[in-house]
């Protein structure tokens, strides 16, 4: 049992957080009174919409939800959610969220961040968050560009990107957000896209359900400065060929006519046609808990076409999800154990210290 502070007294006293009411929420209960100020057609709109749609399904009281963002177009997000929110400073949202969640484990904390915010200036806090596995949900809006500052290349922009700051083309090799997250001990790593709202909403639900840091990368179209960056995956025609949706326990099948699959030849993945030579039984079955498979999936788009000359599809869904103790829970437990070991705090004893003397 931990120390009862003013916060506990206040929150328990004030009759807050009855889930009862929560149940009654509709999506629009989560839209704030601020007019949304993204460019018309920006992918951020659909993501916002799905976030508002999924909130009622979480069974949480509105006041127990907090959105924390850094700086960027994406980072304007909290203003539009009628929950508690903080639009903080560039890159620091994971650190702020850590302080909040560790001190207030009762809250549902969501981090909204862009590819620059999280993988450029904020990359340190990003990897530390994943390592510590603080129980928060992080939504990384990846548009492969700095939107708010009007179009410089970002750490996820492919080599050769012509941008305001790279008129001759960018030279740095980009981060692979999922591979970086796995390397940083991430225990939940998933990908979605703005143009598939149904799946996006499912993924948001998964991030909420997973205990620990849930990293959801969302491909988001910046219509003004980087339009069409993900067209291959979002375009109705190319999508079936270019994407694969991962389902736990299901074989890796894709293609317009579900006629392609991925199999493992030893350690090497390979794309095959399901036309006689190979059938479903030969295919790799998705297992969210297998870190090696997650590694391979995260690297798919780098593998060159092999053998069959077929290209690898881009995986969407949950690549990796395992349970690992959460930092915030461990802190709570440790503080409670301290209470049990050391007993009720006695300030006078503390002030007195080990040794005193009298002066008459």
């Amino acid at each position: 049992m931990a120390l009862q502070t003013k916060i506990d007294e206040f929150l328990n006293g004030s009759g807050n957080g009855e889930i009862a009411e929560a149940a009654a929420y509709s999506a629009k209960d989560f839209s704030s009174d601020q007019d949304v100020r993204w460019c018309p057609g920006c992918g951020d709109y659909t993501i916002l919409k799905q976030a508002q749609n999924v909130m009622p399904d979480l069974g949480l009281a509105k006041e127990d939800i907090v959105f924390i963002s850094g700086i960027g177009c994406a980072a304007r997000f909290p203003y539009y959610m009628d929950t508690f929110g903080m639009h903080s400073i560039h890159g620091r949202a994971p650190a702020i969220a850590t302080g909040l969640k560790v001190s207030r484990p009762d809250l549902s904390v969501w981090i909204i961040t862009g590819d620059g915010d999280s993988l450029s200036i904020g990359a340190n806090h990003f990897v530390q968050l994943l390592r510590r596995n603080v129980n928060v949900n992080l939504m990384l809006f990846n548009n492969q560009i700095y939107g708010l500052t009007k179009g410089q290349y970002s750490p996820t922009a492919p080599e050769g990107t012509i941008s305001k700051s790279t008129p001759f083309g960018s030279l740095d090799h980009p981060f692979n957000p999922l591979a970086l997250s796995l390397g940083a001990e991430g225990a939940f790593v998933a990908r979605a896209m703005d143009r598939d709202p149904k799946h996006l909403k499912q993924m948001m639900l998964r991030t909420h359900q997973h205990k620990g840091t849930s990293m959801l990368e969302i491909y988001q179209n910046c219509i003004v400065f980087n339009d069409g960056a993900f067209e291959l995956f979002t375009d109705k025609k190319s999508r079936p060929r270019e994407t694969i949706y991962l389902e736990q326990g299901e074989p890796l099948i894709f293609g317009a006519d579900k006629d392609k699959g991925v199999r493992l030849d030893g350690l090497k993945p390979e794309v095959v046609e399901l036309n006689g030579k190979y059938s479903e039984e030969d295919l790799w079955v998705h297992d969210e808990t297998d870190s090696t498979k997650a590694h391979l999936l995260s690297r798919f788009f780098e593998h060159p076409a092999r053998g069959s000359g077929l290209l690898f599809p881009r995986p969407f869904g949950v690549l990796y999800a395992v349970d690992r103790p959460c930092y915030d829970e461990m802190v709570t437990t440790q503080n409670q154990q301290a209470m049990e070991q050391l007993g009720e705090p006695d300030l006078d004893a503390l002030l007195r210290g080990p040794e005193t003397w009298e002066v008459k």
Binding site: L3, T5, K6, I7, F10, L11, S14, G15, N16, S32, Q34, K62, E63, D64, I65, V66, I68, I71, P78, Y79, T83, F84, G85, M86, H87, S88, I89, R92, A95, I96, A97, G99, L100, V102, S103, R104, D106, L107, N124, H125, Q128, V331, Q334, N335, L342, E344, P345, L347, D348, L350, L351, R352, G353, P354, E355, T356, W357, E358, V359, K360
Partner: protein, 618 residues
């Protein structure tokens, strides 16, 4: 041969040896015994610079200075009367600090070829009478220790380790101190290793008796009780008092305390100290860097905790952007800067108070914060508490400026009872339902303070951020008039704090007069002692010492204008003096020392006299 028994009003002893010789413990034990005898005292340890140097070398020397007496003692002393040197390096490193005619007690075993070489002595100083100006007592501490432990079969290491007890015993004899509290301590410490306890005690006594029997020492000294204010005392170092001040503030506000910190000399002990008190509702978070440290504290403050972050100069400068965010969010945040010598990495273990301007101005835009500074190790408790009180009651970041001198120095502390402590008055915004009119996060009370509206409170969901916000609603606003209004409001809120802090008192001397010495922070003891001496000599000097720096106490300007001359001694190149000159247009003069060490009383006295002359000539 008879032994003269003499009385002394004050004595300064410096224990010096290799890092491994346990000089810090020796000093602490002598200090406790001395405190129990009712002497007033101040101590200051000096550790080797960050990297551990090889044993026997000068950079590896560790020292502990104790100044005690029957009169008021406010500094660890300028030069010392007695220097204990456990090896050649210790002598070399500390001789300069011994007054001419002072006593040196050397462990001759530390002056063999090997040690002399390590200390880079070409000749043995004990033999080339380079020490003619001092009274030298040569004692083969190592030998006597081993002898006194004969037949106890201890490891070489354990024998070596108890050397320091011999010296301690010897000094107890010289200064007429009882052994019992030290014996109790040893029995407690080595409860699980009775032989070690026994050994240490044996050696301690051996040292004591050596003083008595060996016909070396010609005099013993007694130091009467000091006229301390009656009450119960303990001793404390500044960083511990800082920790206790924070814990007390957390209890008096009944808030959970969240410390986000990243280790750095000399601030790390605040993190170490607080992390022991989890049962007081305290969470300590060692962050990945200073930016994450302060950011996590801001996150915790947003959630209703007392958010604190601790560091030193090079770390605090990294926190500037996030502190600016807290200024904008108008959330409570306590930033502890345990200053060290700069610029850049500077001299991490050395003493300086050169981060004041950074505290006042080290952020982009107009970004006002409150600033407080403790003036002595025990005062760290009061000012840490005050930092929290001001921050929580005024919803504003508060900078707390301590330094390495306060952090590691110790003094007797008439510690308070919980019942003596202020309650810190914190109100959270109440929940609302549909009927109530909409919640305005930036509505202010008559102190310009907004309310603390924490997540989990129904009906007051709202968004805050670092962009300029409309007063009242807190919505983003780029509107011209609003921005100017908000800039002025944030400053007015900071300035309003002046109504909730004590008026500035005069520590010593008249309220009106010729010269005011204006100080802040850790120079208190030195200035107080110097001014005391100057007044004795008939100078019309008063001492005013600031503990609240931003805002200044309401009466400071009038007070300073009561004096013909204002002199500001600082351990920097002139910082407070600039704020005073700017704000009050008073031709304040600076006295600066930038040597990584505190003012010596005599040195300061002379500087003040020199300044007075030039002033009065001018």
């Amino acid at each position: 041969m008879s032994i003269k028994d003499q009385e002394r009003e004050e004595v300064t002893i410096r224990f010096a040896g290799d890092s491994g010789d346990g000089m810090q413990l020796t000093g602490l034990l002598f200090t406790n015994t001395t405190a129990l005898l009712g002497n007033d005292l101040r101590t200051l340890p000096e550790f080797p610079a960050e990297i551990r140097a090889p044993a026997g070398t000068v950079p590896g020397v560790s020292s502990f200075q104790l100044h005690f007496g029957s009169k008021e003692i406010m500094t660890p002393g300028d030069d010392c009367d007695v220097l204990v040197a456990m090896n050649s390096a210790a002598l070399k490193a500390n001789l300069a600090l011994l007054r001419k005619g002072g006593v040196i007690i050397v462990n001759t075993a530390g002056f063999d070829k090997k040690n002399l070489n390590l200390a880079k002595y070409d000749e043995n100083p004990l033999e080339n009478n380079s020490l003619a100006d001092y009274t030298v007592f040569e004692v083969d501490v190592t030998k006597f220790t081993k002898e006194s432990l004969k037949g106890m079969d201890l490891s070489y290491k354990d024998e070596e380790r108890s050397k320091n007890m011999f010296v301690l015993g010897l000094l107890y004899w010289m200064y007429n101190r009882p052994l019992d509290s030290t014996i109790d301590f040893l029995e407690g410490k080595f409860a699980k290793k009775p032989t070690i306890a026994e050994a240490n005690i044996k050696v301690l006594k051996a040292g004591y008796h050596f003083g008595e029997t060996a016909e070396v020492f010609t005099s013993r000294f007694t130091i009467k009780e000091a006229a301390l204010e009656p009450g119960t005392y303990r001793s404390t170092v500044g960083n511990d008092a800082t920790v206790l001040g924070l814990v007390a503030a957390a209890r008096q506000s009944n808030l959970p305390l969240f410390l986000g910190s990243y280790p750095i000399t000399p601030a790390s002990d605040v993190l170490h100290g607080l992390s022991k008190y989890k049962h007081f509702g305290i969470t300590t978070f060692q962050a990945e860097d200073e930016i994450a440290a302060v950011s996590s504290a801001i996150g915790a403050a947003f959630g209703g905790s007392l958010g604190v972050t601790s560091s030193s100069g090079p770390g605090v400068v990294l926190k500037g952007e996030a502190i600016g965010l807290a200024v904008m969010l108008e959330l409570p945040l306590v930033v502890l800067n345990i200053q060290r010598a700069g610029p850049s990495t500077g001299m991490p273990t050395k003493i300086e108070q050169s981060d004041l301007m950074q505290a006042v101005y080290g952020r982009n835009g107009e970004s006002p914060v409150a600033i407080v500074a403790p003036r002595s190790p025990a005062d760290c408790f009061d000012m840490a508490f005050e930092a929290c009180r001001i921050s929580l009651e005024h919803m504003i970041p508060v900078m707390y400026l301590s330094d390495g001198y306060l952090a590691n120095g110790s003094e007797p502390w008439k510690y308070p009872q919980t019942s003596d402590l202020k309650k810190i008055d914190v109100r959270f915004e109440q929940p609302r339902n549909g009927e109530d009119e909409p919640f305005l996060p930036y509505l202010r009370d008559d102190r310009h303070v907004r309310t603390w509206a924490i997540p989990g409170t129904a009906g007051i969901e709202h968004r805050v951020g670092g962009l300029e916000k409309e007063d009242g609603t807190g919505n983003i606003s780029y509107e011209a008039e609003n921005h100017q209004k908000m800039v002025k409001l944030r400053k007015a809120k900071r300035d309003k704090i002046a109504d909730f802090i004590p008026l500035q008192d005069v520590d010593q001397g008249n309220e009106k007069g010729e010269i005011a010495i204006l100080g802040w922070g850790s120079t208190y003891g030195a200035i107080r002692t110097a001014v005391f001496a100057l007044r004795k000599e008939g100078h019309d000097v008063s001492h005013i010492h600031l503990r609240y720096i931003s805002p200044f106490p309401r009466n400071l300007e009038t007070l300073l204008n009561n004096f013909e001359h204002v002199i500001v001694p600082e351990l920097n190149d002139g910082q407070l003096v600039r704020l005073i000159r700017d704000q009050y247009l008073i031709p304040a003069r600076a006295i600066n020392k930038i040597k990584g060490s505190p003012f010596g009383v005599e040195e300061l006295k002379q500087e003040i006299l020199r300044t007075i002359e030039t002033e009065t000539l001018a």
